[in-house]
């Protein structure tokens, strides 16, 4: 893989005692589409704000296009396009003049800017509405205008914070099509956050699943699917009691690759059938085994499972 465009190490953001982002490591390579997934409040937006220097990390480092966003914000912002969670425009100005203002902020020459804006408005299918005030735009139109705004400066990386939020299914498909096009034809790297795995998994080369400020699963879709579905056995144990000791015992069983606990459920991934050993281990530890089922899960199920216990 070529140069890293985003590189975060041990990134921490604390609000008082609450750790919104807790020791995050992240890498985004050239031309890659990275899906940054997690439920609301898992720290995705905060991470993105730190990548743009819109908030300062409490600890750790982040480098975007090789620069520190807090110390050298301009270097970063010249090459990075950012679409905020709810993008805002000056509602009394037309879509086109909003983009002209952005071009001006980027020090683009007027003739160059005009040509580029017309081209982008064509791409996002807003040519007909470009002289209307943005106040009259629908949510989907604003989102499309936002995308044009992000692409205006010809960025190397674009960071999209929950871009599918509030879009209808056609809008989502359209957006994903554009993202795919940008990454394959124009070589733009995309960092995409979302809380809907199934919506974005088709375009992402790699996904990271975020939970409580940490990345709990990361890899290509194929890797994760292999890990969770075809590449072994999945075992779900419903256990009452049993502490860390039990977890260590289970993790130490032969061929076990992953062992996670959410509430009363322990999920074991293994390369071989360990049902007998695992249930024996639970009972030997003194905990009560309420149920056991072996299943092969899809990524989606894992994702949902991770977040089912988190809402509380």
């Amino acid at each position: 893989m070529s140069a890293l465009l985003v590189e975060a190490e041990g990134l921490v953001k604390a609000y008082g005692d609450f750790l919104a982002v807790d020791g995050l490591d992240l890498r985004l390579g050239e031309g890659e589409v990275y899906g940054f997934l997690g439920p609301n409040g898992s720290g995705k937006s905060t991470t993105i704000l730190m990548m743009l220097g819109l908030t300062e990390p409490t600890a750790g480092t982040v480098k975007v296009v090789g620069h520190n966003p807090t110390r050298e914000p301009l270097e970063v912002k010249r090459q990075v396009g950012y679409l905020p969670e709810s993008v805002g425009f000056y509602s009394d100005m037309s879509g086109r003049s909003n983009l002209l203002y952005t071009a001006d902020l980027n020090n683009m020459r007027l003739s160059d800017a005009k040509a580029r804006i017309d081209e982008l408005l064509g791409m996002v299918e807003l040519t007909d509405a470009m002289n209307q005030p943005v106040g009259q735009y629908s949510r989907g139109m604003r989102q499309r205008l936002g995308l044009a705004d992000v692409l205006l400066k010809r960025p190397r990386v674009i960071i999209l914070d929950d871009p599918t939020l509030g879009l209808d299914p056609t809008g989502i498909q359209w957006l994903l099509g554009i993202i795919e096009e940008l990454s394959t034809n124009q070589g733009i790297s995309v960092f995409l956050s979302s809380h809907q795995l199934h919506e974005v998994q088709q375009v992402c080369h790699r996904v990271g699943i975020m939970s409580h400020g940490k990345i709990v699963l990361e890899g290509t879709i194929a890797e994760l699917t292999e890990q969770t579905a075809s590449g072994g056995f999945g075992l779900v144990l419903e256990v009452l009691g049993g502490g860390d000791e039990l977890m260590t015992t289970l993790a130490a069983l032969p061929a076990v690759t992953a062992c996670n606990r959410v509430g009363n459920e322990i999920v074991l991934q293994s390369g071989a059938d360990v049902r007998a050993q695992a249930t024996a281990a639970v009972i030997a530890s003194g905990a009560s085994l309420l149920g056991a089922s072996s299943e092969n899960r899809t990524l989606e199920e894992i994702y949902l499972r991770y977040f089912a216990g988190q809402e509380s």
């Binding site: 937006s45 704000l49 743009l52 819109l54 908030t55 300062e56 914000p73 301009l74 912002k77 010249r78 990075v80 396009g81 950012y82 905020p84 969670e85 709810s86 993008v87 805002g88 425009f89 000056y90 509602s91 203002y101 952005t102 001006d104 902020l105 980027n106 020090n107 936002g146 705004d149 400066k153 914070d161």
Partner: protein, 306 residues
């Protein structure tokens, strides 16, 4: 910053509330020129235009009074929603994702406001002088022109203080309405309440006024407390500048107006008056700088969520 400056400048002149305020002040200022002709003739002071700007003969408010009442509101109108409206609209995070420094956003907005105020003050001044010339057929003398220009700059500094205050409020308060109310509340507090506060504080510090020395101390305390308010600084500075006779003294020592007039009845040159009001200008600029510092400290390190 250039881009932000021009956009904000265009925005100011396109806003209905600003144009409404501008129209109101314009009417007031021009009206103030329609003073009683005969009264002006009988007063017959040497500096006709300076007299004209401060007199209330035949008009509800003098030009000076009108500016010191409504000027702050123009400043507040220009600044109270400058940062927080961008925040609520969600444009702030988009703007700050462009290659501009945060202070450029603040500076661009402040300079656009300042430039707007400059245009307003000088066009009002020119309109007022024009109407007066038309009515009385007298041009201002060279000395008067100098004083009027000085007066213009002090007025701009005074209005810029309120602009900076309103912008500070717009950074600290997320809600534009709250920011406007707080700005206006501070305006009333600083401008009017401080007068009462000053005399109360002076009473506390100098409780028994027996001889002339006590009287002088009491007046001094009252004066210095009052000078916390830019309103007070403005009225002192303009008073000195627009009245060449009083310009000789800073009227600080509890000397009554009559005694002063008796002591001195010959006017001083404009340069002398300007020298006397220089500290007032510096203090006003320092107040603006202090407000900007507070704004910077808050705004530079703030988290910008959409």
């Amino acid at each position: 910053m250039r881009a932000i400056f021009w956009k904000e400048l265009g925005d100011h002149f396109g806003k209905r509330r600003f144009n409404l305020m501008l129209g109101l002040v314009f009417v007031g200022v021009v009206w103030a020129m329609f003073v009683d002709k005969d009264a002006m003739v009988t007063r017959g002071t040497g500096a006709f235009y300076l007299d004209l700007f401060t007199t209330t003969e035949g008009v509800p408010l003098s030009l000076l009074q009108f500016l010191s009442f409504f000027g702050p509101i123009i400043g507040i109108t220009l600044g109270f929603d400058s940062i927080n409206s961008e925040r609520t609209q969600g444009t702030l995070s988009r703007i700050l994702a462009q290659p501009v420094y945060r202070d450029s956003v603040y500076n661009g907005k402040f300079l656009a406001g300042l430039f707007t105020l400059t245009i307003v003050v000088f066009s009002l001044g020119i309109a007022a002088v024009g109407v007066a010339m038309f009515r009385f057929g007298l041009p201002p003398s060279g000395d008067e022109v100098l004083r009027l220009i000085g007066f213009g700059f002090i007025t701009i500094a005074f209005l810029a203080f309120w602009l900076a205050l309103a912008m500070t409020a717009s950074i600290f308060l997320r809600n534009a309405v709250a920011s406007a109310l707080v700005s206006i509340g501070l305006w009333i507090g600083i401008s009017f309440f401080i007068v009462f506060a000053a005399s109360t504080i002076a009473d506390r510090i100098v409780p028994d006024v027996e001889d002339f020395e006590d009287q002088s101390r009491h007046a001094n305390v009252q004066l210095w407390v009052g000078r916390v308010s830019p309103e007070r600084l403005y009225s002192e500075a303009t008073g000195t500048l627009l009245d060449p006779i009083r310009g000789r003294f800073l009227s600080t020592f509890g000397v009554t107006e009559e005694r002063l007039q008796g002591l001195l009845s010959s006017p001083v040159p404009a340069s002398q008056s300007l020298q006397l009001v220089w500290p007032h200008i510096v203090v006003m600029l320092a107040m603006i700088a202090a407000l900007m510092t507070v704004s910077y400290v808050r705004f530079m390190r703030e988290e910008i969520r959409s």
